[in-house]
Amino acid sequence: MTGARHDRPWRSPAEFAGTLPMHDPNEAIRDEWLGFPDALAATSRRSFLKLAGFGALAATAACSRAPIEKAIPLLIRPESIVPGKSYWIATTCGGCSAGCGVLARCRDGRPQKLEGHPGHPIGRGGLCAAGQAELLSLHDRERLATPLESGRATDLATVDAAISGELAALRAGAGRVRVLTATETSPSARAAIARFLAGFKDGRHVEWDADSRSAALAAHAATHGLRALPRLRLDGARSIVAIDDDFLGAGVSPVEHTAGRRAARDPAARERFARHVQLESRMTLTGSRADRRVKLAPWEIGAVASALATSLAARAGVPPPAALPPAAEPVERPLAAELLAEVERLAGELWEARGAAVVLCGCNDLATQKLVNSANELLGAYGTTLDLHSPSRQRNGDDAALARLRQELAEGAVDLLLVAGCDPVADLPDGEALAESLKRVPLLIACSTHVDATTALARFALPLPHALEAWDDIEAVSGVVSFRQPIDPPLLAARSLRRTLASWSGDARDDRELVAASYSALVAERGAAASAATFEQALAAGFVELPRAGAAPVARFDRAAAAVVVAPPPADGRLGLLLHRKVAFPLPRHAQNPWLQELPDPVSKVVWDNYAALAPSTAARLGIATGDVVRIEAEPSGAAVELPALVQPGQHGAVVAVALGYGRRGTERFARAGPKWLEGRPTTGANGRVGVAVESLLADVDGCLRGDIRSVKVTRTGRRHELACTQDHHSLSVPEHLAPEGGATRDAVQSVSLVALVERGGHARVAHAGSSDAGHDGAQESAADAELWSDDHSGEGPRWGMAIDLAACTGCSACVVGCQAENNVPVVGRDEVRRHREMSWIRIDRYWQGDPEAPTAHHQPMMCQQCGHAPCETVCPVLATVHSSDGLNQQVYNRCVGTRYCANNCPYKVRRFNWFDYPRDAAHANLALNPDVTVRSRGVMEKCSFCVQRILAAKLDARADGRPLADGDVQPACQQSCPAQAIVFGDLRDPDSRVSRLAGHGRAYSVLEELNVRPAVRYLADVRDPGEVRDA
């Protein structure tokens, strides 16, 4: 580079002659290396290599450590882990406090699917939608990744060092320390909290649930001396009366109760069929499945409970319960005569079934709950359908204790507040006032998975681990201890509350040791040390059942009267407000989960929004249509929210119902959900978030948080906000003015009354003379004559099929999210759903039938019917959808050119087209993808495959074991997760398989059987027991 001028390249004679400035090749480089042009100019190749080598080494050495030490292949591979092969780990769901057992399918150390643990006593193999979606929550890119100090990222050591000084000062001083958590079901965590608080002069643990059952807990403390919820054992029940309790949907333990309901309702025998009557004001999932549904305004609940208890007492020949004031006070608002007659009838029914009857009530009012307890006591429910001996610990929140804490906070009487796993600022009515008082707390520490409204105020924010990356022991129901173990190397620098508090209390043990110690203590305490499993055995099993301790609590109804707190009925022109929780969001944090946001509400089928549900008559009176933005103004406080209205059949005419848990901090990110294009609209609303927060309208009454006592004014604003609803037409009947003669109603859903079913010997339909009675086979044989083409598939091997029992299905939508997780179904955002381009492979059709004010609801899971004569197959020009030898209708993504003819020609409209390349949330969320299933690209068709990847895996396993495939070896994701076990999959050619027997069942039918497309899915007609009403 230092050669003579003539050695340099030249481009023109002028340049060569030197009349033009010579091009210097180093010029550009010098400019680039601004700092050291001279050094570079002097650099020879040798020294460059030196520098490069040094630089590379320095860069390497500067890293703290190699990212993953285990990247080195294992010299001795653990026997259980084969790279690329899935294995299962038992753990416990963290989706809510119900504590269902979970089996996590993992591969190469990463969880890929969560499924119900079949042996687990709570979930019994089922897992709800929120539980399934926990997989995505684990991979949420917006999870709090590192500790924050006043909003700035720091690390745990720094936080610990900073806090330990303050803690020491507090221990020495007044030490007014409060720990606020959601219901804590982990004994070891409780112990750690207790030990931590014991170090202070004034330490207190406050538990609080956003979905509070405080009154029911207090009522049991009063009537049974035990502050717990009885465990509901529906299995043997014969009569269930639920008053404003969505126990199958947004309840305390919906999976457990759905399984119980299924077990309690055997259509084959009338005496084993539990009749379910629901009294409620809004249409809940539970109400939609009741045999009889009675509309009941929130202000009538107390009176109904009291009338029911009185009537039962009269039947039992005992004095009426004390909680009822002897002389009817204003509390005893006179009930409408028909409602009284209804209650009387219910009392009779319950009394007849005493010993197998139960009254449930979700109202958060102490006196009402006491009345319900007395009714249950009279019915002999305690010890049969209600178990207080091994009570539920799934709710332990105490609204009164929370109220005290809020008082203290307002007074500035708290030195340290540790908030863990809950967000009081967002979930309490006076969030802003609370935020102000929280700012005055000297030391506010928040442990959370996300930066929520409370965490944002905290001086120290500590990330909480996800349930799949934590050690835990969960005793959600007394005597059932389930475990969690990290099945995932933690993605983030999170530390459990237990570990955090233990280390602050000077306990250096890690989570595993703490949990193991807690387990041995528990075993010793229950006197099961000799018989119980070792910790390792318990971990492997996922749970242990411990013997009951002590005697069952005895009821002792005190004579002190408590007034039922009910709101007065709203004045003229006002409506009663009912705030409720959503089926998809058992915990408020689930609002951060796009799978759950895009899960159609089981009742309204609306996604990505909350809304003001109004009865059709009320909406008509107020001139409001679905999608009109209404203003809900609370009286007299004046608090107001504006949100879109929804006309909801079956809703009480004087009630407006709105879901809680929306408009939350952090949902701003969903503005980016879904494809971006010319006419695309954002998923978030006008407030920049998903839905509208209505927590400000909750009310605080006598230490209980109530969402059902406000009176509100509902007015139109004139604006519109189109709700994204997966279903446009909600009836099995075509619009009246278009109804052809005799064809107004389509029988996609068939239903039969219990009485008729028993009379017909288990057949849903009256057998027609001449027609075959043998169900499936008969139908196929008679249709065989009408074949155009010969069957081009051999009769050997299985013919996969499915049976769906509509009598068992509750519409809970667990299958929908289960399918989404298993089959990598993308989230498409609000606008795409509004345009009817949702991608879910399985949908649940919900139809209303009858009077819109008091309709019957039907839920029908609908997925690819895997037709034997598939209309989609003949029309594809490129053979992208073909029939397999085992009867599957296969979609070949690689071959698909996307003509959409198959979808047009599908009578069930179950095919889904990739209209866009759907943005996945982040590379992070891609870890939740199932590697067995292709991620589909833009422009191809897709649909339910009957989980063909599972069929193949089961076939391979069977072949490896040298055995034939057995019935039950293959379980598609929808069947596996169904809490009601409504779905059965198997081989229709095997006459002994469960699915074959169900397919030939008297209640079995195929949807659109008349088209002779020969669907492989058979539905079993719904069975209801409407009471006296007998159908023809």
């Binding site: 996609a748 020009p877 979808a903 069930y908 409209k909 949807v1007 659109l1008 088209l1011």
Partner: protein, 474 residues
């Protein structure tokens, strides 16, 4: 013979050549430039829309999980239908010796080809992955070989449209050869070489005329069955499906007659514009218009009958799905489309029974425009209303088109008019050679002077001999 002459103004053979070649040789007029600019602008709009759609996804159309086809296939069937008239006029009317067709057949054939071009775009761009469109062709490949699905009507479409396009193009081109030779003879330089190349050495000798005539007749015979087959096959896209409103045995004849109807309407629309713009009043006379109006009344009435038959079949079938589909079509949320269709396709052509209306070219122009609109709506109604509400009520949706779809439709018109205007500019719009055979002057045995040549003039002479020998003198 004819009660009135087919060509007015006492045109001589030389006048025909001058009139037809004139616009080509004189170069573009201002009017042409403006029309061309507008057409290209529309075309560009369509190109942008289609480019955007291919880049971003089919989601930029208003389709949904229930309505998988809407504007795309509507446009496709509409354009294929338009493309029907050319072949019908050239082939069938040739075989039936309808001499009045000579003035319009060239343009009608050109229109056919351009319409089929427009139609051909839609099956490609409507695919989710149009870059793989070649997979619909059965060609030897390394995937097994993996063949196409011969049971799929979409594949039949590929063959039907492909065949139709090929035959139409060849027929049109062969018909052009004598006129190309005339242009060649009148041109010089590059133009002369180009026209000459395309004229395939047509010399005007008796032998070339004889070959030409034979080829035309053969191709006409080949093309005739295609008139029936193309739209019959297109109709099977719907007829072979299970969707109520699509699944109908009446579809093949119904579609064919609809196509003839819409094709004639479009030919008439274009002819009425062209005779004004290109000053072809003498060649495209009210008599031509009237003849075509009669075809419109006839086909329009059959279309009306087909609508009634559909309704009757639905009612008579007793099938509640079928019955509902037609009630929904007429009185459902998209019912207005149905009534637009009925008003335009059934009621409007009935006006043409009146001679006063038939001979008022302005009214005829309006009628043909309405028929074009109505025929587009017919396809839209069949496709969209049937899909919107089929078997399971839970899956019902309502379709809303997007801007991209409107732009794509506009773009297809842009392409059509761009091609048509290019055709007007570079090729003889009227088949000179054929028109000369029907010149009224022939009947009077006038001496004909053409291109400085004296041609034998004898009405009774065989067809080729009666023609001026294009290029014979050079």
């Amino acid at each position: 013979m004819h009660e009135a002459p087919l060509i007015l103004g006492g045109k001589r053979v030389a006048d025909v050549t001058a009139d037809v070649c004139g616009p080509i040789e004189r170069g573009p007029t201002g009017r042409w430039r403006r029309a061309f600019a507008a057409a290209v602008a529309l075309l560009l709009l369509g190109v942008v829309a289609v480019g955007y759609q291919i880049a971003v996804g089919i989601g930029t159309w208003g389709l949904d999980r229930t309505v998988g086809w809407a504007f795309d296939i509507t446009n496709f069937v509409f354009w294929v239908g338009i493309g029907h008239a050319g072949t019908l006029i050239s082939a069938v009317l040739l075989l039936f010796r309808q001499k009045w067709r000579t003035s319009i057949n060239r343009s009608a054939e050109a229109m056919t080809i351009f319409a089929v071009c427009c139609a051909g775009i839609f099956p490609v761009i409507h695919m989710g992955r149009p870059w793989l469109a070649f997979w619909v062709f059965p060609y030897p490949n390394e995937r097994g070989p993996l063949w196409v699905n011969f049971r799929s009507p979409l594949l039949w479409d590929v063959f039907a449209i492909g065949t139709y396009f090929t035959i139409s193009l060849v027929f049109w081109y062969i018909g052009l050869i004598p006129d190309l030779a005339t242009l060649r003879d009148r041109a010089s330089g590059l133009k002369r070489r180009l026209y000459g190349w395309f004229a395939l050495g047509f010399s005007g000798s008796a032998r070339t005329w004889s070959r030409y005539e034979t080829a035309c007749t053969l191709l006409a015979a080949l093309a005739t069955p295609l008139v029936v087959s193309v739209h019959s096959v297109v109709s099977t896209d719907f007829a072979t499906s299970v969707i109520p409103g699509w699944h109908a045995t009446i579809f093949p004849p119904y579609f064919v007659i609809g196509a003839v109807f819409s094709g004639f309407a479009m030919v008439l629309t274009l002819m009425l514009i062209a005779r004004r713009v290109m000053r072809f009043e003498a060649y495209i006379t009210p008599r031509h218009v009237e003849a075509m109006c009669k075809v419109l009344v006839f086909t329009g009435s059959i279309v009306g009958l087909a609508y009634l038959t559909e309704l009757f079949t639905a009612w008579y079938s007793g099938n509640p799905y079928e019955r509902f589909t037609f009630l929904n079509r007429a009185f459902g949320p998209s019912g207005w489309c149905y009534w637009v269709m009925v008003a335009c396709n059934v009621i409007t052509p009935q006006l043409l029974w009146f001679r006063r209306i038939r001979t008022d070219l302005r009214l005829v122009f309006v009628v043909t425009l309405l028929i074009n609109v109505g025929m587009w709506f017919e396809r839209f109604v069949i496709i969209v209303t049937s899909l919107e509400r089929d078997f399971l009520t839970s899956a019902w949706t309502s379709y809303q088109p997007t801007l991209v779809e409107y732009a794509t439709l506009a773009g297809s018109f842009g392409l059509f008019f761009t091609l048509f205007l290019l055709f007007c500019r570079w090729l003889p719009m009227i088949a000179m050679a054929e028109v000369k055979t029907v010149l009224p002057s022939q009947d009077h045995g006038h001496e004909l002077v053409s291109d400085g040549l004296t041609a034998p003039a004898a009405a009774s002479a065989p067809l080729p001999a009666a023609l001026p020998l294009a290029g014979a003198g050079r």
